[in-house]
Symmetry: C2
Subunit: 213 residues, 2 copies
């Protein structure tokens, strides 16, 4: 399998964690988002959506969107499972995953911040305030869910890592890079620390990628 | 089942379509996003994430996040299926669904536009330009996927409606409300028209809800 990735992107980071949790080897192909390499025809020929990550299977089929790919991997390589066996567990893990993927990350990804800077002319202070606003808004919701919905364990759901943890950890690491105050989310941070103690999460993090700057 | 909904919200609209496609009856509970009713303690007690939609099962369990709920419904009430039977079909339907749910909708939902107006002081022209920018960006990606990835049929994937159609239709209807030019997306619009010819999509649309204004 070939993984189109960028060390800093949250979405490829989610998928790197999932691949490592499942012990699946991949050949990395680096696409520098900062240099706009994902908008060049070469990558557009791989992924019509023009987004990272993309996972190319050995037969050449291209899979896109991190959560969709994680679900696929979980179906094809079920052990260890990244989604619970029970339907209510699955809906919760998917809901927590989507809370990060839909409510926080899209507002803070590179092209959104670029629009704020270039089209709206915002300064770094305003951009950082925007970033922190959506992290605080989203993580408050995440924390409320972790503390009030049944099922939270050592990890987001139960005592083994799931797709939700694959989503939470990149969001926290990005929030730390923007110096967000994370003291108000003790449950999320406890789960984050439990994840980072595992080799799969540690090895997948941005600073340990071959394309890290 | 009890559905917390708002006529205009894209996410509850997705779920209304899915419920109607499956012929599942629900009791609606109206939460007015424009009046901030989702931020009041009453709704917060239902959904810790404080977001629409929320679906309360007959045993009182609360399900959250539209795509997670649609997946749950598809597992519990498999006919008609909203996800394909093959893994490659599922990853594609999920990817197209996430393309709308992660790349377009979060940038254009009510609280994002409210931040642009209130915290950043943007005028309506700038807010509309922002809205149209992300619709154009996201629908161009969607159109490219529909035209270049195998599997597109009468609907987004194959000849029966799937979760991807449940996501596309609300996004198009919202784009029309903001007078977006949709001429550049003929495949997406062809699918949209095919969907709207079905009673499930038609009956689920904002203008036909009891809380419509």
């Amino acid at each position: 399998m070939k993984l189109y990735t960028f060390f800093r992107g949250s979405s490829p980071f989610r998928l790197r964690i999932a691949l490592k949790l499942k012990g699946l080897a991949y050949e990395p192909a680096f696409v520098h988002l900062g240099k706009g390499e994902h908008r060049k025809p070469g990558f557009g020929a791989v992924n019509p959506q023009g987004l990272l990550p993309a996972l190319v299977l050995d037969d050449g089929r291209v899979l896109t969107q991190s959560l969709a790919i994680i679900e696929y991997l979980d179906e094809k390589y079920p052990n260890p499972a990244l989604l619970p066996k029970d339907a209510l567990g699955r809906v919760r893990v998917r809901s927590l995953s989507l809370l990060v993927a839909c409510e926080i990350h899209p507002l803070n990804n590179a092209r959104t911040l670029a629009y704020l800077r270039k089209q709206l002319g915002l300064g770094e202070e305003q951009v950082n305030a925007w970033y922190r606003h959506w992290v605080a808004d989203g993580l408050a919701k995440f924390e409320a869910d972790l503390t009030r919905t049944p099922g939270t364990g050592k990890f987001c759901h139960g005592d083994t890592p799931s797709m939700a943890d694959c989503c939470l950890v990149p969001q926290i690491i990005n929030a730390q890079r923007f110096n967000c105050d994370l003291a108000a989310y003790p449950s999320a941070m406890r789960v984050f620390e439990a994840c980072m103690a595992l080799a799969a999460f540690d090895e997948a993090q941005p600073s340990k990628q071959p394309d890290a700057e």
